[in-house]
């Protein structure tokens, strides 16, 4: 499964806001095709790490490399085009846009027709738009969202919104998909469906996935490897079994007893 060069290499990455160190010395390597979990107590810096990977923040130390490209200092949209896309902890869909249009936005970077050709409705506009539409509909079918196609995204039920957000992220053709608490707010049945979905998209798109999740059964059940963050630092790394029995992790989660 593993190849010689990792797909993503975060080398000694850290960031501080003012005097506050939010993350420091984080080393994470992801190999192509892996599904890896990132866990840790509240405020450990997990989402901050995602924000560093996607260019929302720029790391103040260390480097992030995807394939052969260094990502430090790139704008979020450039990083997306290099092959990282994400979902958000609190769903961020384009609420007033239809489900179909949400996915079409993700296909935007594939569009080759210019603003000029759209304004004057040149043939390249029609062929370009048609291609995007066909691809987007195709995509929605894969995710069984085609029956909601013309519905506004904000009107979807919660579980479907999560599904759509994942679909939209995948439509941007990532090599690496970052999922930030996809199971938050879901009931056990929805969570089960989500797990199936994750397994399915991995298979289908040959993806590498990094998953932040609080739902431990989910993380332990699907991830091959797990990184644990606490207080902005990596405290452990290993298979689910190793993590479950790692005293440092147990301490971070369960705390220490009063002696």
């Amino acid at each position: 499964m593993t190849t010689n060069t990792p797909l993503l290499k975060a080398d000694n990455v850290g960031i501080h806001f003012g005097g506050l160190k939010a993350l420091s010395g984080v080393n994470i390597e992801l190999n192509a095709g892996e599904l890896v979990g990132l866990i840790g107590p509240n405020g450990a810096g997990k989402t901050t790490f995602f924000n560093l990977l996607t260019g929302v923040y720029e790391p103040t130390e260390g480097s992030i490399v995807l394939g052969n490209d260094k990502l430090n200092g790139l704008a979020p949209y450039q990083i997306t085009r290099k092959g990282i896309s994400r979902t958000f902890q609190n769903i961020r869909l384009f609420g007033e846009l239809s489900v179909l249009d949400n996915v079409k936005v993700a296909y935007h970077s594939l569009a080759r027709h210019s603003i000029f050709s759209s304004i004057f409705r040149l043939p390249s506009h029609f062929s370009g738009e048609k291609e995007i539409e066909e691809k987007a509909i195709e995509f929605l079918k894969i995710f069984k969202l085609e029956s909601f196609m013309y519905e506004k995204a904000k009107n979807l039920p919660y579980g479907q919104q999560r599904r759509l957000e994942i679909a939209r992220a995948l439509a941007a053709h990532p090599k690496l998909l970052l999922l930030d608490e996809p199971a938050a707010g879901m009931n056990p049945q929805e969570t089960q469906e989500l797990m199936n979905l994750i397994a399915f998209i991995r298979e289908r798109f040959h993806l590498t996935i990094l998953l932040i999740e609080h739902d431990m059964p989910l993380v332990m059940g699907v991830c091959e490897r797990i990184y644990v963050l606490d207080h902005g630092q990596l405290i452990a790394h290993g298979t689910p079994e190793e993590i479950r029995n790692n005293p440092k992790v147990i301490e971070a989660y369960l705390g220490e007893e009063i002696s």
Binding site: H214, M216, L254, G255, E256, I258, S259
Partner: protein
């Protein structure tokens, strides 16, 4: 003293609490443990009036307080130390404590309580003229607790007092929680740090995705495998 009767709470469309019931007896420390996002903070916020339950009722000393304005609930003797401390960083330690006593008019009582809080947290006395934002994490937690005590609550709601603190400080904080309780203040404690919480509590509830899944005495739950499972998802 406090009785929560099958409340449902929603954030927009998402149901955060599903028919949660629990009881706190006078003089107890009751702890509520569970993983992140299980609904613990939501429950405290609902009790203190920051959120309104859609169904169900909350009785405090026999009276319904569900859906009342937060300031009314503070007045009735419930103080809430929120998650993340939420101190007023742009004000001095002393001003923060004064705000804790915002609704009180008894000047002498307030002065006594200042003494009490400073006695409980000598650090705060040393730094009373300092801006709260310049305190360390542990001191901020102390300030948040001291501020809540200034309202002279009969019931104190504590949300994750150990969050982000070094182990040594956590111990101090928990020792102080026991001390506060020994003066007669009833405490409802929300914690991720389950072992620590169980070591000071009389009784405990385990909450999982918005539902109470387990309850019992602290000893029972300490021995329970289910608690560990709730956190780490073992089989």
């Amino acid at each position: 003293m406090l009785k929560v009767e099958s409340i449902d709470v929603f954030y927009g469309n998402i149901q955060a609490l599903k028919g949660v019931s629990l009881e706190v007896q006078k003089g107890e420390i009751v702890t509520l443990i569970g993983a992140n996002g299980a609904g613990k903070s939501t429950l405290l916020k609902t009790i203190s009036g920051l959120l309104k339950p859609k169904h169900g009722d909350i009785l405090y000393e026999g009276q319904s307080i569900a859906g009342k304005a937060a300031q009314m609930i503070v007045k009735q003797g419930i103080s809430h130390v929120p998650e993340g401390r939420r101190i007023f960083a742009n004000m001095t330690v002393e001003e923060n404590l004064e705000l804790g006593a915002f609704l009180r008019k008894d000047k002498d009582g307030i002065r006594q309580d200042f003494e009490k809080v400073y006695h409980l947290f000598p650090r705060l006395h040393e730094r009373r003229k300092q801006l709260a934002g310049t305190l360390s994490g542990g001191e901020q937690q102390m300030l948040a607790m001291g501020r809540a005590l200034m309202a002279r609550p009969r019931l104190l709601l504590l949300d994750e007092p150990s969050m982000g603190l070094a182990p040594l400080l956590v111990k101090t904080i928990f020792r102080i929680i026991e001390e506060i309780n020994s003066f007669g203040t009833t405490i409802l404690l929300v914690e991720q740090n389950a072992k620590m919480a169980l070591s000071v509590a009389h009784r405990a509830y385990v909450i999982e995705s918005g539902r109470v899944v387990l309850s019992g005495s602290a000893e029972e739950l300490t021995a329970s495998e289910q608690v560990k499972k709730a956190y780490l998802g073992g089989h």
